[in-house]
């Protein structure tokens, strides 16, 4: 618990990825956290239990991930900034509540420190939740998905996730993995910054009907046409997010590169190593930061003049489908993936590029 003090004394700190997420949530004004143990994210509930006590917030260890997400639903309904965290099998259980939150337009942050699957899988780093993150739950809805590739981004994107959630009244997922969750790095904290939408008035929340009729938060719309109209409203919101919130990074693309790597999260970082190994010639990187909304147009543009596009993932080709949607000439796409917790090395990726040259 000596970690608690590190933020107070200095703006920069050497911190574990999972703990960086906790500090970001606290700095963003989140005072309600609920979670259930699952590796490799246990540092989040453990550290949260002491940080929330220190900050006068609420920490609840729930009886399951189903309960975690439904408590986030309740806290959000009452107007609070709320967060939960889990890893892949737990996120499967949370899909129920995420769908209800999207339907009821409730903000909230869900951290997914992805592990190997399917089933219980293993606890090694993986990106095999790309589908369940970007194509979540039942019904016509979307969720903003942010994919950090280093610990500074674990902190920054978690901080920003709360603003996205409140700005659009939507669930937001942080998509990381055990590699990012467990490693330690130096990061800069933003503790003095006030989160932009922290004090936005939530007139829709259930806080007690003072001088007004009762508010209703619900997703059941039985009258003919009512659900179609509501879903139309949700789609308008999703279109606004797609128009305004696409985020990505370009690396080593300031010249006429022949090959473009598309990778996100940990793999993007490994791919930067590949590019550096190759002497920073010929190869550029396109890294989606928002997995939803996916930066289709920008990727299309970046890939237009590349001879080949290499898609690298720690799964068997889940983002690949979005890359194919972005780049209609899929003949020039080459995919290499590791699954079941396998982590590629920079050399391994470079060897693959050389074989396919």
């Amino acid at each position: 618990m000596n970690r608690i003090k590190e933020k107070k004394v200095k703006k920069k700190c050497f911190i574990k990825g999972n703990n960086a997420i906790v500090e970001a949530a606290i700095d963003a004004g989140c005072r309600f956290y609920v979670g259930y143990p699952i590796t490799p994210q246990n540092e989040i509930p453990e550290y949260m239990s002491s940080r929330m006590a220190e900050m006068g917030g609420t920490f609840i260890q729930a009886e399951s991930e189903l309960i975690s997400i439904n408590m986030v639903f309740g806290a959000a309904a009452a107007g609070a900034r709320a967060m939960t965290s889990s890893s892949s099998p737990g996120i499967s259980l949370m899909q129920e509540g995420i769908s209800y939150m999207a339907a009821c337009e409730l903000p909230g942050v869900i951290v997914n420190i992805v592990r190997g699957g399917p089933g219980l899988g293993n606890i090694s780093p993986s990106q095999s939740d790309y589908f369940q993150a970007t194509k979540p739950g039942h019904g016509d809805f979307h969720m903003i998905v942010l994919a950090p590739c280093n610990l500074q981004e674990m902190y920054d994107l978690t901080f920003e996730a709360f603003d996205y959630a409140d700005k659009y009244r939507t669930p937001v997922m942080i998509f990381a993995d055990g590699l990012l969750g467990q490693m330690m790095e130096n990061i800069e904290l933003n503790s003095d910054k006030i989160s932009q939408y922290l004090n936005v008035e939530k007139t829709w929340a259930v806080t007690g009907a003072r001088n007004r009729d009762g508010n209703k938060i619900h997703s059941l719309l039985m009258e003919p046409g009512a659900l179609e109209a509501h879903n139309g409203h949700l789609q308008e919101k999703y279109n606004a997010i797609k128009a305004d919130e696409r985020r990505f990074e370009l690396y080593n693309t300031d010249y006429n590169y022949e090959y473009l790597i598309v990778a996100f999260g940990s793999v993007a970082r490994i791919a930067k190593g590949t590019i550096n190994l190759a002497g920073k010639t010929k190869i550029g990187l396109f890294r989606p930061i928002t997995l939803w909304p996916f930066p289709y147009e920008e990727l299309k543009e970046a890939a237009a003049n590349a001879k080949k596009v290499f898609v690298f993932e720690m799964n068997m080709g889940q983002m690949l489908e979005d890359v194919k949607l972005a780049i209609e000439n899929s003949a020039k796409i080459e995919f290499y993936g590791r699954t079941g917790g396998g982590i590629p090395t920079s050399e391994e990726l470079l060897n693959f590029i050389r074989r396919k040259e």
Binding site: F32, V34, T58, I60, A62, E63, S64, L66, I67, N70, M71, V72, F73, G74, A75, A77, A78, G79, A80, A82, E96, G97, Y100, C104, V206, T207, G208, A209, R210, N211, D213, G214, N215, K216, I217, H218, S219, L220
Partner: protein, 257 residues
């Protein structure tokens, strides 16, 4: 001169909205009792209800105070989170037997065990009403439902769960009472129990649950009178009416009613 005195009126906490429940259904009576209590305790601007999945999901259309829906069975945990965020508000979950005793059994056990300072109104009509009368954990032995056409069979489904008795040993639980609403006298008693449950929350005594035996004539294939008779003679025979637990009883504190 003759002076008019209002002796009965529609509670302020009910909207100008006709109940959509079937004739003889118990939900409208219990909704009205809650609205009356909310008025009497002046809670309308200070109370938050959580509706279940089931017939009573539409609670927010009838009560004129803040109400949120919850996913099936998650009703008490949504109520828990609201209470933790807003500890000075009165928060209740309103749940049916499928919601509370089947899909939400883990939720109600842990909520009760944590001793959350919320109130639970549990509607036991021995079947899944909204989906057309399927067997519930509370369905009586040999009771015919759409999924137990030969009657509930204990070999395959065990015995009906007595929820109030099941929760009773948990230390976090402070008040449990089972009531019925079969006639004016029992409705008055039911109201008294529900009011007490809210008062226990207001006084921060802790978790309370009132189980209400109600009729579901449409799915029971009985008329209203037969339904009431069946509750009196059969349902209340298995689910005994009365106080199951009251931590204040014998504790020297006076009753609030």
């Amino acid at each position: 001169m003759l002076k008019e005195k209002i002796v009965y009126k529609k509670p302020q906490s009910l909207r100008e909205q006709q109940f959509s429940y079937c004739p003889g259904c118990g939900h409208s009576t219990v909704h009205k009792l809650i609205a009356e209590i909310v008025d009497e305790l002046e809670l309308r601007e200070n109370i938050i209800g959580v509706s279940p999945v089931g017939c009573a999901v539409f609670g927010y259309n009838f009560w004129n105070f803040d109400v949120t829906e919850a996913a099936h069975g998650r009703t008490p945990v949504v109520a828990t989170a609201i209470k933790r965020v807003l500890p000075d508000r009165v928060v209740f979950s309103y749940q049916g037997d499928g919601d509370l005793a089947s899909i939400g059994l883990a939720e109600i056990l842990h909520t009760a065990n944590r001793g959350e300072n919320i109130t639970v109104i549990f509607i036991n009509n021995t079947n899944y009403g909204m989906t057309g009368g399927q067997m519930a954990p509370t369905t009586l032995i040999d009771q015919v439902t759409t999924t137990s056409p030969a009657g509930r069979d204990i070999q395959n489904y065990g015995y009906p769960i007595r929820v109030a008795e099941l929760l009773s040993p948990l230390e976090g639980v402070k008040y449990l009472e089972r009531v019925k609403i079969t006639n004016a006298a029992s409705i008055i008693k039911a109201k008294k129990a529900i009011k007490k449950a809210f008062l226990y929350q207001i006084k921060k005594i802790g978790f309370s649950l009132v189980e209400v035996l109600t009729s579901c004539p449409a799915n029971w294939h009985k008329d209203e009178k037969q339904s009431i008779k069946w509750i009196e003679e059969v349902v209340a025979g298995y689910y005994s009416i009365g106080k199951i637990k009251d931590v204040k009883e014998g504790g020297g504190e006076e009753d609030d009613d």
